[in-house]
Amino acid sequence: MTDEPRLSAQQLIERLQPALSPWARVRAVTALVVGLAGAAFVAALWWTEPGPLPGRTQWAFALFTVFCLAWACYGTWLLSRRVPLFAAEHVVAAWLGLAAAIGTTALVVTVAVQRGAHPVGVPAIGVLVVALPAVLLVRARARRAALLRRKRELAGGDQR
């Protein structure tokens, strides 16, 4: 019988490489982090404008915010559907997200204070913005630790 797979295991693995490429992961995480940070920054600038803005400026701010959110959505879609993020990479991505959130919040709070915005409102939102990646980081680390524990248990069982 000549009924055999056309692709060898090695060829099959090679064809899976684009999905496993590190650059695909970097692109996806960058799109998500930069998109969210950009949206937060533009929205904060818009919100802290001291006086009423002309219609075109309002539209421009809205357009920038939507543009950044679209990149964030694209990054989310890539990470959830196209690019697998394994446990170690989840931790790295969460650290990147946390760093970006802290940086964006610091920038936004500085700009808001300079413009005389509400002294509590912007920092409060900043705390919320930082809290989300912080929670994701804790979860990613916990998941990785659980997998490492399971690996040790199974490896111990294998050796017996």
Binding site: M1, P5, A9, L20, A87, L147, K151, L154, A155
Partner: protein, 173 residues
């Protein structure tokens, strides 16, 4: 090394473990897909199955149920392929009633495989999973998303149809 250990290592990001999983399960997956589809599409669908496995592996929580999860994905890919084929066939038969090419059906197979391919999809599926992939009735039920009673009745029907088919060909039990 167990499948579960390989899955956990792959989830941690070890590429070698992922490659070992592909090596270990490539043929069983291909065999299942091949029994459900013709040779031309079996390789493409198998590749789709592995792509879906790689993409979904980080989210697999029950690491000890990799085999069932793998065949659930394979079944979904096969179902999508068959659905697309039926849709195409419906369009073709609507426009060109005599377009069927008997040459397309000429494929080298064993008698058993030929008999299997003659069974309806649902019966063929449980037969392949239960006998060729050696899965339990419970696992078949989970993969096919039907109660275990339905799997048993499909197995009975499939066995009867297969026996009738083989008897027609001159085989005697």
């Amino acid at each position: 090394m167990t499948d579960e250990l390989l899955v956990v290592r792959a989830q941690l990001g070890e590429r070698a473990a992922l490659a070992e999983l592909v090596h270990r399960w490539r043929l069983p997956v291909w065999t299942y897909v091949r029994r459900m589809l013709d040779a031309g599409r079996a390789d493409d669908v198998t590749q789709d199955v592995w792509l879906a496995v790689v993409r979904g592996l980080p989210r697999l929580r029950e690491t000890d149920r990799f085999k069932q999860w793998l065949f659930t994905i394979a079944r979904r890919s096969v179902t999508d392929c068959l659905r697309a084929e039926y849709a195409r066939a419906a369009v073709v038969s609507h426009g060109e009633p005599d377009a069927e090419d008997p040459g397309d059906a000429v494929v080298e197979r064993t008698e058993l495989v030929a008999a299997l391919s003659g069974l309806p999809v649902l019966e063929r599926e449980v037969l392949v999973l239960f006998y060729l992939e050696d899965l339990s009735v419970q696992d078949c039920a989970q993969i096919c998303q039907v109660p275990t009673g339905t799997v048993k009745s499909r197995l009975n029907r499939a066995r009867r149809m297969l026996r009738e088919h083989l008897e027609e060909k001159g085989y005697r039990s």
